[in-house]
Amino acid sequence: MKGLSRDRLWSIAVLLPSILLLAVFVYGFIARTVYVSLTDWGNDPAQALALDPIIRWVGLANYQELFTGFLQGRFRQELVNTIFFTLFFILGCLGLGLGLALVLDRNPRGEGLWRTIFLFPMSLSFIVTGTIWRWMLQPQGGVNQFPNAVGLPAGQFSWLSSTDAVWKFDWNALPLITASVVGLVLILLAVRAARAGDRTRAIVSGLCAALLLGWALFIGPNVRLLPAPELHGFNLALIGIIIAAVWQMSGYTMALYLAGLRGIPEELREAAKVDGASDFGMYRHVIFPLLAPITLSAMIILGHISLKIFDLVYAMTGPDNTYTSVPALNMYLTSFRQNQFALGAAIGTILLILVAFVIVPYLTSSFRGEEGHA
C-alpha cells in the first residue's frame, strides 16, 4: 500500500486528538503529580488554596514522611490493608469464579439464568454494592442473624466496626521481612533455573539471594524506620469489605473461566478419558494447566482493581474509619479535604508505582507477543 500518503495522513490526523489528549491527561498529569509530590504544596495550609502559592522543592521528604513520619501511621496501616485486601480479594474471586465456572460447564438446566444471577453485581457501582452490604453487615442484623435460621444464637461479630487485628508485625521489621521474602523467592528461582540447566540465571539469582539474605541477617535487624515499634496487621473489619468485593467481582472471573473452559476442545477431554484419567486427574493435568493463562490475566485485572479500590470502602465504612481505610481513599481525603496536595500527590504516585508493577509487564508481554504474530 505505497503511495497512499494522503490516506495515511488522514489516519494519523484521526488519531492525533486522542494521542494529544492522552499524552497530556495521562503522561503529562502523571509527571505533574510526581513533581507536586516533591514539593511542599499544602503543607502550610495558608498556601494550599492561595491563588499564587509559594511552593518549595523538598525532594523526597513527603515520601519519607509517609513511610517513617510520626503522623502518618494511618498511611502505613492502609498499605498493609491494601496488601491483605488484594490477597484475599483475588483468592476469593478466583476460587468462587472457578467453582461457579466448573459447575456451569457441566451444562445444568437453565444455564443462562444461573449465569445472569452470578454476573449481575458486575453491573452495579461499588457505591450501590457498598450501601447494600453495609446494611447486610450491621452488628445485630443481616448476616449475623443467619444462625437464627437453624436455631442457633445470632452471630456476634462486629463486621465493619471491629477494631481487632491479626498477624501483627512491627513496621520496623518491614525491610527485614521484604528482604527475606524476596531472598527466598530468588533462591526458589535459582533452584528452578539450576534444574532447567540455565547456569547464568541460577548464579545471578543465587548471588542476589545471598546478598539479600546476608543483609537481612547482619544489617536488617538493626534498621529502624521509626523511633518506637508500630504494629500493623490484618484488621478484621476488612473481612466484610472483602466479601462485598468478591460478591461484586467473582462473576467476572466466572465469565473468564467459562470462556476458557468452552474453548477447550471436547476431543481433549475425551482423549484424557481414553487414556484412563480420572475426573480429578483430567482436571489436574489437562484442564487446569490450560486455564493458567486466564488465571494470570484475572489476577492482573483484579489486582489492579483492588489496588485502586476506594468507593467501596467509602460507601461501607465511610471516610474516617482508619481500620479499613486504603491509600486510594487517603489520597482523596489528604488532597481534597485537608488540601495537602503534595502529600496527596505522593500517595497517588505510590499507588501508580504499585499498579505499574502489575500492569506494565502485562502490557509489554501482550504486545511483544502480538508484534511477533503480525
Binding site: V14, I127, Q140, A259
Partner: protein
C-alpha cells in the same frame, strides 16, 4: 479479543458427561451460590419497601407487612436530579468516546504504521492507571478553564460566562479522555476481525480513508458500538472518584448523591435502599436486556483474554 464468548445457547451436553458429582449435588451448589448473590438483593428490596418505623434490626429479614412505596418518592426527591445528571453525563460521554474509539480503532487496525502497536500500548496504559495519580493536575486544569461573558467584536454575539469546574462538562471531559483507551481497544480488536481484503478491494476501487470508513467499516460496526456503548455507559454511570472531586451540588451524579444519602448515620435505612435501587436500575436493566454484549465488553477489558 480472541476470547470465545460464552453464548446463551449452551452447547448440547454430551450424554456421557457424568462426573463424580451427582446432578443433585450440582443443583444444590448452584442454589447455595445463587443465595449468596441474591440474598443481598432480597434485603435491599424488602428494606426499601418498609416504612421507617418498621425497620428494626431484629426483623431485618422479614418481608414488610405493609408495602411503603413512599420510600421511592422520597429517595427520588433527593437524588432524582442527580439521576438526570448521570443520564446526561453517561450518554454524552459514551457517544463521544465511542465515536472517537471507533475512528482510532479503524486507523490503528486498518492503516497500521510503524510503531502503531507501541503507540497503542502507551494509550492502553491510561486505562489502568489509578486516577489518584492524575487527580490533582486534573483538578487544577479543570479549575483553570473558564471565562467571563464577552462579546465577539464584529459579530455582536455574546458568549455567556463559563466555568468548567463544577459543571457537568468537566466530568464529560474526564470520562471521554480516560474512556478513550478502552473504546479504542474494543474497536481495534473488533476491526481486526474484519478481513483486510475488504479494505484492499475498496482501495482498488479508488476509495480513500473516509469513504472506506463510511461504506465498509462503519456499517459493520453495529455490534462493536453496542458493546462499547454498554460498557462505557456502565463505567461512567458507576464512577465515583471524579464525581466526588470535579463537581458541585448542581452537577453531582447519582453515585455521589447516593453516598451522601447513605452516609449519614441518622437516616432511616429504607431511604438509602430505595436510593440504591434507583441508582442501580439503569445499568441493571442494560445488563439484563443486553447481557451478552455486556459480557463481551467485560472480557475485552482483559486486553487479550
Amino acid at each position: 479479543m480472541t476470547t470465545t464468548v460464552p453464548t446463551t445457547t449452551a452447547s448440547p451436553a454430551p450424554a456421557s458427561r457424568r462426573f463424580g458429582l451427582s446432578r443433585a449435588g450440582l443443583y444444590a451448589l448452584l442454589v447455595v451460590a445463587a443465595l449468596f448473590f441474591l440474598l443481598p438483593i432480597y434485603l435491599l428490596i424488602a428494606t426499601a419497601l418498609k416504612s421507617p418505623d418498621a425497620i428494626n434490626l431484629a426483623t431485618t429479614w422479614q418481608w414488610p407487612r405493609a408495602l411503603n412505596w413512599a420510600s421511592f418518592a422520597e429517595a427520588w426527591a433527593k437524588i432524582g436530579g442527580n439521576v438526570g445528571n448521570s443520564l446526561f453525563l453517561a450518554i454524552v460521554a459514551t457517544l463521544i468516546s465511542a465515536m472517537m474509539g471507533s475512528l482510532n480503532g479503524y486507523a490503528l487496525s486498518k492503516w497500521k504504521f510503524r510503531g502503531a502497536n507501541i503507540l497503542f500500548a502507551l494509550m492502553l496504559f491510561g486505562m489502568f492507571i489509578p486516577y489518584q495519580a492524575v487527580l490533582i493536575p486534573l483538578f487544577q486544569f479543570v479549575r483553570s478553564i473558564g471565562w467571563e461573558s464577552f462579546v465577539i467584536p464584529g459579530f455582536n454575539i455574546t458568549v455567556p460566562e463559563f466555568t468548567l469546574y463544577g459543571s457537568i462538562w468537566a466530568l464529560i471531559l474526564a470520562h471521554v479522555v480516560y474512556g478513550l483507551p478502552i473504546t479504542t481497544l474494543i474497536f481495534r480488536n473488533y476491526y481486526a476481525e474484519v478481513p483486510d481484503a475488504l479494505v484492499e478491494a475498496a482501495t482498488i476501487d479508488g476509495a480513500g480513508f473516509w469513504s472506506i470508513y463510511r461504506q465498509v467499516i462503519f456499517p459493520l460496526s453495529v455490534p462493536g458500538f453496542v458493546v462499547v456503548i454498554i460498557w462505557q455507559f456502565t463505567q461512567v454511570w458507576n464512577e465515583f472518584l471524579f464525581a466526588a472531586t470535579l463537581t458541585n451540588t448542581s452537577s453531582q451524579p447519582v453515585t455521589y448523591a447516593l453516598s451522601q444519602l447513605a452516609g449519614g448515620q441518622a437516616v432511616s435505612w429504607n431511604l438509602p435502599m430505595a436510593g440504591a435501587i434507583l441508582a442501580a436500575l439503569p445499568t441493571l436493566l442494560v445488563y439484563i436486556l443486553l447481557g451478552r454484549y455486556f459480557v463481551r465488553g467485560l472480557l475485552a477489558g482483559s486486553v487479550k483474554g
